[in-house]
Amino acid sequence: MRETFTKGMARNIYYGGAVFFFLVLIGLTVDTVKSLPKTDNSENLTEQVAAGKRLWEINNCIGCHTLLGEGAYFAPELGNVYTRFGESTEAIKAFIKYRPVDGIPGRRSMPQFNLTDEQLEALAQFLKYVDGVKTARDWPPNIQG
């Protein structure tokens, strides 16, 4: 780097750039949060869905699955599982409920979480709610997630 470009100039770019772009990020965040109700399916965010989200969390579902593409890549995407399962919460519930305790020999399998019927319903409703989030270009690209 040449002598004409001083340390002071570099420092000013750092401070100026950091502050400026941080402020832009905050501005865009405010705008995003304000415009979320258009896409975030919050009209269907019931108490039951919230309970389902908690179950999703405390069973560490994200440790194997992705949800809208984020999480682990060991098991299928669940952001559109409601659609994939023929828009049936019953099918989702049945799948979770009947996982064999000892797994399937030689294959990846989902643990048996021993959820109650009420919990299963909440979890399924949560997945239905996530499926209702309007993502850009209707991501994921197809039904397989």
């Binding site: 772009f21 995003t32 069973n59 984020e70 399998s109 709610y129």
Partner: protein, 460 residues
């Protein structure tokens, strides 16, 4: 070692390396579970192993960062650490919290852990990388605040250099953005949006400040290049890191229900994110080329150069590969992401901590540099770990490309599990590379104990 209190770094580094071993062991278990789905099932299901793998990484990197700071700050500030006692106490608290958390993951079902730790009072668990019980998160905050107070007081009452001030800024940022981990709204879009304020603004923001300052410090030490020059580079690197990285957060807001303008903002700014990493490479090459001395610790120089190159490859090149929205539409949440994640974390943060350890450990053990045999072994371990990580990345990239093609791109997309079976070969090769990495790590640890001829060095 100029100040006695720098020696505190040693315990932090030993803990870091021990946890690193745990991380890699669990990594190889996961790798096997990818191809032998019932391995250790149901005792250790994949989600638990993964959580241990990623959380150990975070904990040991934090140990590494704190250890590095305790070594660097007294020397840069030209005074003893404000409170060596506090640093020691915090070490044990952090180690206890970390180990208890990992044991919690392993010994009880996660839902039970949530119950025991009263997650309902302030639910923060169960989100990727932030799986720690709320109580552990609070513990992390306390430890980091005490740490910040300690190095902050040392710096503020001592000499302020660009390096220690940038390091402090990075650490403050780390603490501040971690606070978003306590915000867990029921609205999934909001949850995801602010989750990235921890994850992205850590690894693609403030951690780059920490990394750049550590790298700059070691490079000054091993090359003897003028501080003025290094400081100018440091400023411009971190300027580019924040200019690109802050709005680069937008590349995580493509498909989670956030407004469409993020497609453009995220693509454009994250396309600039390789620049700071590229500049680190240019900077490292430049100062090594202009070096005023050949430091006897050749291993440390190798780690420093390796960090610059691998961070550029892993974070820069592999990040750029799938960061543009039209590409990310297909690759989001596939093995491509895993490939990038592995090389970026290794190249940037693992390697910078190992660089600091490589440089400082001999000094803390009363040597200028490790003996010839030890250095040779360390350099072998460098190559074993680095090359196997390159292969892990290549195999996961291959797996990801086939996955994207068959599951996302094809006119007749196949189900997830069908595709997973088709790419099993890649996972097997990845597992082999992972085992080689583990061997490299074992060799690395052994290098600390190897006896051999002392290095000759010329007085400065």
């Amino acid at each position: 070692m100029k100040y006695e209190s720098q020696g505190i770094a040693k315990m932090y580094f030993i803990a870091a390396i021990a946890l690193f071993v745990g991380q890699i062991l669990f990594g190889t278990i996961m790798g096997l579970q990818y191809v032998m789905g019932d391995f250790l099932f149901p005792e250790l299901p994949f989600n638990v192993v993964r959580m241990v793998h990623t959380n150990l990484l975070i904990i040991w990197l934090l140990f590494g960062f704190m250890g590095s700071a305790y070594f660097l700050v007294p020397e840069e500030s030209e005074r003893e650490l404000f409170s060596p006692m506090l640093a020691k106490v915090m070490f044990w608290i952090f180690l206890f919290a970390g180990v208890m958390t990992i044991l919690g993951y392993l010994l009880v079902p996660y839902a039970r852990l949530a119950e025991i730790t009263m997650n309902d009072l302030l639910p923060t668990m169960g989100r990727e990388f932030l799986e720690q019980p709320t109580i552990t998160k609070i513990g992390i905050v306390i430890v980091v605040l005490a740490f910040l107070f300690n190095i902050g007081m040392t710096i503020l009452t001592g000499r302020k250099t660009v390096i220690n001030v940038v390091l402090l800024t990075g650490m403050v940022g780390l603490a501040v953005f971690f606070l978003f981990s306590f915000y867990n709204p029921d609205n999934i879009v909001l949850d995801k949006y602010f989750w990235w304020f921890v994850v992205h603004l850590w690894v693609e923001g403030v951690w780059e400040l920490i990394m750049a300052s550590l790298l700059a410090y070691v490079l000054i030490k091993v090359t003897g290049v003028d501080r003025e020059v290094v400081e100018k580079w440091l400023y411009i690197i971190i300027a580019m890191a924040l200019i690109s990285g802050l709005l680069g957060t937008g590349h995580h807001f493509f498909w989670i229900g956030t407004p469409d303008y993020w497609q453009w903002i995220g693509s454009v700014f994250s396309a600039l994110e390789p620049i700071p990493f590229f500049m680190m490479t240019l900077f490292a090459f430049n100062v090594v080329n202009k070096r005023r001395r050949d430091h006897p610790n050749k291993a440390a120089v190798l780690w420093a150069l390796g960090t610059a190159v691998m961070a550029f490859l892993g974070a820069g090149v592999w990040g750029f590969l799938h960061t543009l929205a039209p590409v990310n539409f297909y690759t989001h949440g596939t093995q491509i992401t895993a490939a990038h994640g592995h090389m970026a974390f290794y190249g940037a943060y693992v390697m910078v901590v190992l660089t600091m350890i490589s440089y400082s450990m001999p000094l803390m053990r009363g040597q200028k540099a490790a003996n010839v045999t030890a250095q040779l072994l360390e350099m072998w371990s460098f190559w074993l770990m680095t090359i196997s990580m390159v292969f892990i990345t290549l195999f996961l990239t291959g797996a990801g490309i086939v996955q994207v093609y068959l599951q996302r791109y094809s006119d007749d997309p196949l189900p997830f599990m069908v595709v997973q079976e088709k790419i099993a070969l890649f996972y097997w090769m990845r597992e082999v590379a992972g085992v080689v990495f583990l061997i490299g790590l074992m060799l690395y640890i052994y290098s600390f104990f190897a006896k051999g001829k002392e290095v000759e060095f010329v007085e400065e």
